[in-house]
Symmetry: C2
Amino acid sequence: MHGPRPTLEAVAAHAGVSRATVSRVVNGGAGVRKSLRDRVQASVAELGYVPNSAARSLVTRRTGAVAVVIAEPETRVFSDPFFAQQLRGISRELAACDTQLLLMLLEGRTDYDRIGRYLAGGHVDGALMFSLHRDDPLPSMANASGLPTVFGGRPGWPGAEDDPDLLYVDTDNRGGARQAVEHLRRRGRRRIAVITGPLDQTSALDRLDGYLDALGLTEPDPALIAHGDFTAEGGERAMAELLDRSPGLDAVFAGNDLTATGALRTLRARGLRVPQDVAVVGYDDLEQAAWAEPALTTVRQDIQGMGRMMAELLLRRLGLADASGVGRPAPVVTPARLVVRASS
Amino acid sequence: MHGPRPTLEAVAAHAGVSRATVSRVVNGGAGVRKSLRDRVQASVAELGYVPNSAARSLVTRRTGAVAVVIAEPETRVFSDPFFAQQLRGISRELAACDTQLLLMLLEGRTDYDRIGRYLAGGHVDGALMFSLHRDDPLPSMANASGLPTVFGGRPGWPGAEDDPDLLYVDTDNRGGARQAVEHLRRRGRRRIAVITGPLDQTSALDRLDGYLDALGLTEPDPALIAHGDFTAEGGERAMAELLDRSPGLDAVFAGNDLTATGALRTLRARGLRVPQDVAVVGYDDLEQAAWAEPALTTVRQDIQGMGRMMAELLLRRLGLADASGVGRPAPVVTPARLVVRASS
DNA sequence: CTCTGTGGTGAGAGCGCTTTCACGACCCCG
DNA sequence: CGGGGTCGTGAAAGCGCTCTCACCACAGAG
């Protein structure tokens, strides 16, 4: 069954035409008479011809593949369906354009060399990069190699905002956080604490800014802020700190749902009732949020859609997307929406 | 910075040798005098030469890439960190052998054609396939195309076990389930119910068999079995069914942790105490299991390790792995271990 | 009837690499 | 000192494809 796969040559011979004609037909068939085109297509079908992508990309200088780089050595990737959902969105969009998805998961610092070399090596036409921290070397690598790149989340490195060609997809973290905290205020909460995420990520920073916005502050009250790391353990710890420092707090805005889960755990351990004594709001609307006890009020974002948009942006920059996306590709910020449940 | 990338030719000229010699050096340097080798390596470094993979695989007939096919149109992928962890294991192993990971997420039935064509098209050297249900067309596609393939989970299609070349990595679902149920019996539980997973997957079947083993049965008691689908909602529903049918049950073995979470929810809603009234055991040891209320007794498996092993098996079959793995590659079944927590 | 288009087709170069093969240098043994 | 190795190196032939360019046939204009 799987002997030597037929080549263009074989199809040409079978159809009684030249290689060039077969090539034309395979690539859209423009400028080939209908009768010939049909004959060639029949031969292609009969022989089960599939173009050799290596040969093709050798001459076209395009690989038909895009790298998805996830630089998250932490355990976060495991517990957080975030990436899985984004990947699905990306995968769907790329598949529609017959583009392959090359997944690169970074572990240690040494991986950066490997990835950098790979990206610079012209093995892919573009890259999607995720969860970069402020000092991540990846963006500059991509930039230096001239590889078209779209970032997941607003890039935070110095000067990023000034680059007119920078492409990213972010969610309105600041607006979402503002909604969450305004909601707490409307419910009559007055001592609203915050547990941040890692502040070298713009998402965590933006959420903190949204919190400040809603309270009309420019600086957080030192007694009502604690730093987490977007994990449940971090949330547990930070909540404990907050309670020790400010026993009178009546609400907490957690940097994400995992953090909120940890906070709930600490509150339960200390015998505080949610939401009667302390209201809790998370962020992300993970599936677990709805299942938490009590069900978590949180902020929802269209994660899968963000993935799809990243892919679309990149495809447009590569000149591959459908004509639907008109104009120059530009950064996208998607809306966030409060989901009120039992915890607030 | 990113003008035309240097070719072999350029390096050869720079080092004052022939293309052939540069090629030899780049590919290990066997049979090249030390002095020349050093000179070539210096040139490679200076010019920043990276081999063009398209050209290389055109002649070697190897792509240096492996497809990871995840056929799970359900929502399961989202809520379950299972795949993320396996992917990490796979990624790590492949990276060590400089092999790329091509991720293919299947959605609808039409995707099967696309993937089938792609796999048959010689774009990858091998494939890893996940979560196949009994009637999945993918395996036969892979088989027909002669593409070396390793499966995640024991394949369940008819005749699978007879194929001496079949490669898979599975965990000892039956043994794990047996441990879990024996544990419940040791704790004095007598009416132990079971919530199964989707029975077209071998993992769900094997866990059910392990349950039967531990109870010394060949047939489940119809009053003590309910069918779930490996989701929390399914667990919730199945638990309700069981309680309606057998109010006197004192323990339940859930097909996986998500199912167990749902069961916990139903039990709580009905005012039953866990573990006093009903003991609950899950399977998988997801992070959420430890965080459930009460913390879930469950069965742990080395998920990341399974991913690593799948990759290793494939690499060995492709003749790429280190010499460490001696002998013919063969299916692997990894052990499962009971983790006792508060819920039982 | 010749000249200029026009549209369809084929010949052939060449993408950057690996790999065979031939060749020269060198060594050892007789 | 000559024959038969071994070892290291370079020349060159492709791998399967795209794409330029030349070519041919035919149409319409002069």
